[in-house]
């Protein structure tokens, strides 16, 4: 998985969230507009229908009044009155005659009234006679074709549908019958009002909507609970407002339903917003981009600065105080401070580890010295001389340090040599001398187990190799022996000669010098001997030997750290440089 930079991560996250938020709000606006359009459309349709209905209602009332005046015919009334007489002699023939009489009256009334259907009915609106308008003019309707009751406002006659108005026929104070005026219903007249369907018991009888959608509308309408507000149905994925219209006349089992496409209306309304949407969306995405970039930059900058500052620290090898580039972000500052604290803690712990390590080395060296009173302070002095020599030979500080520590440890292998051999006052046997000769390798083995002591191994192992290859343990010669081992070899020999030993007293300093000079080039490296002699001369030139001693002790004290007891130091060097003698051990 590729790792993204913090800045790009922040950028994409911010951009993504902004785009999601923008998209959601756009969608919300779109839905809300759509709903509003839908509600408005519904309200306007319902209102329009109510207004039309009211107009029709008052219009219809006027028609009824006019018709009732127009049909105020004595003949019609006289004919209708006959039924009161016929109830005594209820003969079908008489009834037929009555029907004929009424029919004649209707035929006379029909053409001037201009209605498509006229039905004269009795008080209970039981039809007595009817005429209908046909192509050939107004013709009487056979009694079998007359609808059962003329009271319904919408009924079929000969597979045509009629909307009707019933007009009472009054005689003096009472109603004696009804005249029903029918107008043929034609679905085509609703063409302008949109899709309209005449429904009967959930089925479409006539409609001006596409045939393939009819079943969908039937299904939708059946599940609809008719309210004056209409109801929503979905046909072929489109939302329609189904609204019952002309409910005052088309009622009972019949209903006339207008289907208005809400989606089409809403689209018409929202189409104008399309370009605005697009522009606003584009602008918003641009803004989101810029914002995301800014956010990413401002979030990543302090971290970048911190990284830069740490890199600088790495380059310079020390911790740079971060106060210069303090960030405006509290967390970043905390992070930087924590980092600095951690680094400091690590440095301190490294230092204390280093200190502990140094103490360990000294302890080991002192442990060795403690075994043999004659060699007490030997390691420390060798170390001191070696450092002087190394400095005189222009070694680097690092090499000087290696020499200093290595010299302190150079005889550590003597731990593995028995005391009887080591402290034997007399001359050593061949066998005993062989045991002594093993101490460089023993020391190398002891220190070889500690990785940190690796740099000192050549000093410990090879400080008895001679310049001409006559030394031990490997018999290396000349430049094959590392310089630090050669330095320690000379310093060791010089200190051995100028110190008391169990088997002899110390040699005079001049004697020791002579021996060094004599063996230079054979046992000792001449350059190292030369350097040592130069160092000793520099000591001699100082007028007050005690002073030079004090300065040396002070130097020693400085090098071994504060833990070395000053008294011990002084006692170790109190013998210096009184005696000297040749000793090669």
């Amino acid at each position: 998985m590729p790792s993204l930079s913090f800045a790009s991560r922040t950028f994409f996250l911010a951009l993504g969230m902004m785009i999601v938020a923008l998209g959601a709000s756009f969608q919300a606006i779109r839905i809300s507009i759509r709903n509003q359009v839908r509600a408005n459309l519904r309200t306007s349709l319902v209102r329009r229908e109510a207004v039309i209905e009211r107009m029709r209602s008052s219009h219809g009332e006027r028609i009824v009044r006019m018709v009732s005046v127009a049909t105020d015919s004595a003949g019609l009334k006289a004919a209708l009155g006959l039924q009161r007489e016929s109830s005594f002699t209820r003969s079908p023939l008489y009834r037929q005659q009555l029907g004929r009489t009424l029919q004649n009256q209707l035929l006379e009334l029909g053409p001037p009234l201009g209605f498509d259907l006229l039905i004269a009915s009795d008080l209970d609106q039981k039809p007595l006679a009817a005429v209908v308008k046909a192509k050939s003019g107004v013709i009487p309707l056979d009694s079998s074709e007359i609808p059962i009751s003329a009271s319904s406002a919408f009924f079929p006659v000969n597979s045509r549908y009629y909307e009707s108005i019933a007009v009472p026929i009054n005689l003096a104070e009472e109603v004696i019958g009804w005249l029903t005026l029918g107008q043929e219903f034609d679905i085509r007249s609703f063409g302008e009002a949109g899709w309209t369907a005449l429904m009967h018991e959930g089925r479409i009888l006539a409609a001006n909507l596409p045939v393939k959608l009819q079943s969908g509308f039937e299904h939708g309408w059946r599940r609809c609970i008719p309210t004056p507000e209409g109801c929503d149905i979905k046909v072929a994925g489109e939302s329609f407002l189904a609204l019952r219209i002309r409910a005052s006349t088309i009622r009972g089992d019949y209903s006339l339903v207008s289907f208005q496409s809400i989606d089409a209306a809403a689209n018409e309304f929202t189409a104008g917003f399309g370009s605005v949407y697009l522009a606003a969306g584009f602008a918003s995405v641009l803004i989101a981009l810029v914002c995301a970039a800014l956010v990413a930059r401002s979030a990543a900058r302090p971290i970048r600065e911190l990284v830069q500052s740490l890199e600088e620290s790495e380059r310079r090898g020390e911790l740079v105080s971060n106060t210069r580039s303090r960030s405006a972000i509290a967390e970043i500052n905390q992070l930087a401070n924590a980092f600095i604290r951690a680094s400091t803690a690590i440095r301190i712990s490294q230092q204390s580890l280093q200190d502990a390590y140094m103490e360990f080395i000294q302890t080991m060296a002192q442990a060795l010295d403690a075994r043999d009173s004659y060699t007490a302070g030997h390691s420390r002095r060798v170390s001191l001389y070696s450092v002087q020599i190394a400095r005189a030979m222009n070694c680097s500080e690092h090499e000087v340090e290696t020499v200093r520590v290595g010299a302190e440890l150079h005889d550590i292998g003597k731990i593995g040599v028995p005391d009887t051999v080591l402290q034997k006052p007399g001359k050593l046997t061949e066998c005993e001398f062989e045991m002594i000769k093993q101490h460089p390798e023993i020391g190398s083995r002891i220190l070889g187990r500690v990785a940190k002591f690796e740099v000192y191994l050549p000093i410990v192992e090879l400080h008895h190799e001679n310049h001409d290859g006559s030394g031990y343990p490997h018999g290396l010669r000349g430049d094959k022996i590392p310089l630090c081992a050669r330095i320690v070899h000379v310093a060791d020999a010089y200190d051995a000669m100028t110190s008391d030993r169990a088997y002899r007293p110390r040699l005079a300093e001049a004697t020791a010098r002579g021996i060094l000079r004599d063996n230079s080039g054979t046992q000792f490296d001449p350059d190292v001997v030369k350097a040592l002699l130069g160092v000793i001369d520099s000591w001699d030139q100082s007028s007050d030997p005690s002073r030079s001693l004090l300065s040396l002790a002070a130097q020693l004290k400085e090098n071994t750290g504060p833990k070395a007891a000053p008294g011990e130091e002084e006692s170790s060097y109190a013998v210096w440089p009184i005696g000297a003698g040749p000793d090669i051990s």
Binding site: S57, S58, G60, E61, I63, V64, R65, S68, D72, S73, A74, G75, K77, A78, A79, G81, L82, Q83, R84, E85, S87, F88, Y94, T101, L123, S151, S152, A153, S164, I165, A166, V167, P168, N170, L171, A172, E173, E174, V175, I176, S248, T249, R251
Partner: protein, 232 residues
């Protein structure tokens, strides 16, 4: 022999009224029969059944009722003459009962033309236009109901009830009616209501005493026999 027979007949004729019973009763109208005039309103247009307005002047149902007896053994009535006035664009009276064979004259007492006509089966006629002050008359032989209208004024209507016998009457405001001197034998009590039409009931007229017949219109079938109580 002929004289005895004649005497006998005369005796019979004198004696018969002595053997005549009385039929009395009451007419009970249990529901309004007249559909009161409807004022057309919006509801009318909407097809809701027209309800008569409560404020409409009440029509007395009893005034629209005529009662008469019909029976083959009853006396033939004495024909008479009656007048049906036309005044203030109304017929007066609006219900007229005459025995069959009577002549009814239709004087025009309005200062304009009227044209009285009838389509009724028992006597259809058209008296044509005639001006104020003139009168025309029609003789009604067959019993039954003749509804009379005026071509010029569609609101005018009247009914002439032609009774087949001399026993005809109109109930009082409480619906009470009474026929005296009815020959015993089967008779038919006919009640005619101007709006509701005919109601009739067969009775056995008593030879003496009185029977009471309560007629509930519209007729309630279970009462047809029980309603007749004989009072001696």
């Amino acid at each position: 022999m002929g004289i005895r027979l004649l005497t006998c007949l005369i005796c019979l004729g004198v004696c018969l009224p002595l053997h005549a019973g009385e039929i009395a009763g009451a007419i009970l109208i249990v529901k309004p029969l007249t559909r009161k005039k409807v004022t057309v309103n919006a509801y009318q247009f909407r097809g809701v059944s027209a309800k008569p307005l409560a404020s409409e002047s009440s029509i007395s149902e009893m005034e629209r009722v005529v009662v008469y007896l019909d029976g083959s053994n009853l006396d033939m009535p004495q024909p008479g003459a009656a007048i049906l006035n036309q005044k203030n664009q109304r017929f007066d009276p609006e219900i007229l009962v005459v025995p069959s064979g009577s002549t009814v004259s239709f004087p025009n007492n309005d200062p304009f033309f009227h044209n009285v006509f009838s389509l009724s089966r028992i006597k259809s006629f058209d008296l044509g236009y005639y001006p104020a002050g003139r009168s025309r008359s029609v003789e009604f032989r067959r019993p039954g109901v003749v509804q009379v209208f005026c071509h010029l004024h569609p609101q005018m209507s009247a009914a002439i009830v032609v009774s087949p016998t001399g026993h005809f009457t109109r109930p009082d405001s409480a619906g009470q009616f009474r026929f005296e001197g009815v020959r015993p034998g089967p008779v038919k009590l006919v009640v005619w209501h101007k709006s509701a039409g005919y109601f009739h009931r067969s009775l056995e007229a008593p030879s003496e005493g009185r029977i009471r017949v309560d007629v509930t219109i519209p007729l309630q079938e279970e009462e047809t026999s029980d309603a007749v109580t004989v009072v001696r």
